[in-house]
Symmetry: D2
């Protein structure tokens, strides 16, 4: 049993951490902070937690020492006070984008500003167990993942691990996302009459999460395109790329089965019949599973690889808890057993 606190609990990733940690068998939540909701019960912001968690939001300036600290504050905040946080807790998991990139030059290129604590970058491990499990098990400082990066990396993982991509192939990844990806802050575009029913390609290329995919696999020609659609939770990445010549379907089944067998939260979805033949995010809402699938135009060596996730779970808070489990030496799936709903 360890004591953890959450800095920034009124946003969506903070809320999911609260939900998950409220039921985690080895964790006690010590503090959860919010400046704007100071003194309110957490269930006043996150109504699903009524009768489940009786905590009140406390002052972010009054953090007390704990065993592990989750940072769920806006991008740019954690890097300013990382020394302070490290004094409060021997282990820190930061869900923001601040420590995802190891290279300060890459950070500056994609985020348009100099990193405030470049010396901390190399001390953080990028917290995606499917590509970094062993390093995470050894780490004290874990960086959360970008949700679109997660879906993209996992869509590519079977191919990259099997080494069957044509290295000269450009990779185009189209990502369709729900509205929760934008966070809890309101804006003109998130107003329901404007956001309902959209198919809105809000980022044709140049999205910051691209850098995480580049860092993971070193792909040179890579474009991520982001399109907002009408659901709240969920992201689907559809990757288009060329395979090496000679690859046949059997190689692909082998490659995909390998990663889904090695990773408890990966599932292969590629059915011949029924309604659910391909990965779909809606049935993953609240779950930490990532569903992957593929279709292969063998005549042209063209592969379409698909990954569906809940952006707040596998794409943020779920993976953060999975990292905590690994850091602590616990069952990787502890506290993460909700499988999603059908229908939903």
């Amino acid at each position: 049993m360890i004591r953890v606190s959450i800095l920034g609990g009124s946003g969506y990733t903070g809320g999911e951490l609260l939900r998950l940690l409220s039921f985690h068998p080895q964790v006690e939540i010590h503090q959860v902070t919010s400046q704007s909701h100071l003194g309110e019960y957490v269930h006043q912001v996150h109504p699903n937690l009524r009768k489940v968690n009786s905590l009140k939001f406390s002052d972010p300036g009054q953090l007390e020492p704990v065993d592990l600290l989750f940072l769920a504050v806006p991008h740019g905040e954690a890097q300013k006070k990382m020394d302070d946080f490290a004094r409060l807790a021997p282990k820190v998991i930061d869900l923001s984008a601040d420590f995802r990139l190891r290279d300060p030059v890459l950070y500056e290129k994609w985020y348009g500003q100099t990193h405030a604590s470049p010396q901390w970058l190399s001390r953080f491990v990028y917290g995606l167990p499917e590509i970094n499990r062993e390093a995470i098990q050894q780490a004290d400082y874990i960086s959360g993942v970008g949700c679109n990066a997660t879906a993209s990396i996992l869509a590519l993982l079977p191919i990259m691990q099997a080494g069957i991509m044509d290295d000269s192939s450009p990779v185009t990844i189209e990502i369709k996302v729900g509205s929760s990806e934008g966070g809890a802050s309101i804006n003109d575009g998130s107003h329901h009459p404007e956001r309902s029913g959209v198919i809105r390609t809000f980022s044709a290329f140049g999205h910051r999460h691209t850098a995480e995919v580049i860092q993971a696999f070193g792909i040179q020609k890579l474009w991520l395109t982001m399109t907002a659609v009408d659901l709240v939770r969920g992201a689907l990445a559809t990757a288009h790329l060329q395979l090496k010549s000679g690859i046949v379907m059997k190689d692909l089944w082998k490659a995909y089965r390998a990663v889904t067998q090695e990773n408890p939260f990966l599932r292969l979805v590629n059915e011949k019949r029924g309604v659910y033949r391909v990965p779909e995010p809606k049935v993953l809402a609240g779950s930490n599973y990532a569903d992957i699938g593929f279709a292969y135009d063998q005549e042209n060596n063209h592969l379409v690889s698909i990954c569906a996730i809940d952006n707040l779970m596998k794409g943020a808070s779920g993976t953060a808890v999975q990292c905590m489990n690994l850091m602590m030496g616990w069952d990787e799936m502890a506290g993460l057993d909700f499988p999603g709903l059908h229908p939903v």
Copy 2:
């Protein structure tokens, strides 16, 4: 051909006026104002009007004289400057709540403040043609209607006109509404992740539109309950009440057919088969029709009467244009012929 201007064109009712008047055969739009979008093309705010209307938003302080002025500004604004507006145009149609109630005491009771221009109240006609057609034809000053009041009044109209309600009956009207009813201003509750998929009873009783229904029919025991549901445009009023003893189905068919024959925008929907047996707002999006229907528990004299509208059309801008047509002696349906879509 007359010249009209719209004060307040960046909101939802202003936008609908722009759409309707852009195609109205007897109207030329002279000015449309917006302080916050001053100088922008109207299509930058209302993207459906691109290539349709090339106007730019002008300064609300620089209104020029016209034949007819539409006021589409927030509640409370029109009553402060009504003398100025009357000098600019011989005919004024105000879509706000400022001049809907004839009695300043009633206004103060429901709006919680003293009316700024009580002398103007009696000069305005409540602009719902289905209950005020002749007065509107003679009027120079027309008040717009509340969308929930419109749906409620039209649900009750067949019964009240036929005089078959039990006068001692309490009337409970449950209204289900889309998100556009809240207007174009953003707030925490309209943020898509919070508003999507809701069934949210945001006003159990005491909604201001109740006063318009009371004024129309003099009902003593009347409760309107407002529940937000997941669509953008549309309102459905379901009224529950008791009829006088002895009323049979035939009387009801007669009462409902009478109002739908007398009023070009009312339609009776009461089918025995098919998907669309009852009034539904979704097929009315963009249309000025109001669909009404009923079900009758004859054993208990209990009537359920239903009215569906597009809250921005029949519940606001469509009815305003219909009133203009009547004031000008034109075809009541001019410029209002879009019937809605199926499917949608």
Copy 3:
């Protein structure tokens, strides 16, 4: 640890039972049947269960003896073979409507047909713990609940338990429901282009679930009105009624607090600020909680009482598992700890 089977696992209530029982600490699922999906993995129909439950659907004609049998077959099926089922299992929970009404005359009135096994009606206990907890604890045969009946009964429970309703008051309950209430069978009205965005009052009065509310409380003048809206899971009941004279707000707080304190799955939602001030079904998806709230027009003794549930959980499978827990003497909340999501 007991062995249970589910007769009828490909529908929505069967699917929810599968999800819940897959994680229940004291239950082993022995068989789950489906004629139409015989031999398929359960995850081919319920994609959320992939990697969670490796069962295949078995033949409904090959049921084997178990400790407890859940019946999740269409209405009318269970009553024909109840003697057979009783031979297979000492305890039976039937989720259909077959054994909800104790009186065969009432059954015939509301269901339009003679009951096939009237002798079984008195042996079943209506399985809503909030009104029948002790009887359930003693029972071997439990009837599931109607989802709309559940929402209605729980909306009325605080008032009926406190005895503060005006007995002569008619009760009008407006229920707004999601599409999963119609079950897994397709029809013209459930086709997405026709069902999306609806506000469709498909039953103005006379819905069969009305009988369950009458049976629970003996109300004489009761109308349930059902309106389909755009979400998948969820039902909100809004009850309108008159209280005895002299009742004040303090009495209501006391009445509502009493039932939410006595019942682990009831929560009172009546906030002054924030987005979530009233009960809303969306945050309950997947959860067994029922959220209740109220608004009171004290001047007129008019009460609006509200209950939100997930129709597949508290309104069906969740309550069935809760009943199993009570029958077996286990923790009432065992296996039912998922609290719902925010945002969703």
Copy 4:
């Protein structure tokens, strides 16, 4: 004034033809057929047409001679009886896929069956005015367009017309579509609880509409990927391709402006601020406009070109009416002036 009939009026494209032609100033609808709804009023199937169109569905076997015949029957039907249809009307517009491809070999490759009337293929003109206007003006037989093909062709049109694509570039087009694209026939996947909230890549490559894009532009390496999302009407095509070296932003603005100036229903959407910066289908529901836009990664010569349409309008019935206007020498926009709604 001409007389037209519609063979197959109960489906979605037939319903849209009915709506459009009911208001077309130069057309009288003579017959509209439906076997399954024979004798019913058209408004019983298309509720938006109540009080608008008083026709009843007639027998498809009793078609009478008219000036122009629209065929809105399922794929495969028109090719079997084309000689009969040609005897009934001097002009025919077929909305199915039967006569879209000029080459019977191409037809067989993509549709998997031999064409029943290959001699008719060369007599039909592919009815997309933006690439075939002059031929359409001279034609008596017009083939309708595939909705996804339309969105794809129009997304590529500015580039192909300007001749600035790198000819060796593979083209990947991701198309996101609403549920009406599947037509009015119900199936397990269109059941609302399963279809609501989906992001479902139902065709990774090999969709039949691909053939129309190949025919239009002769692209060799072309993949269309279809993903169903949660709305009813609308399709968004996002095309990814490489431009010739040396192309700069100014060239692109010129190319896109050229096609939007030459074609009355094309609009360029590429704004720097506001909510609606890129093409979005939701504001096009009911409209015949196609909105196009682009983003350009100049450093890598990588272009993302976007086109939004209403699949039932510009992608089917709207374009069919546009073709009729051109065939008859009328104003190309006659009867097609509804601009869509905002908000919606």
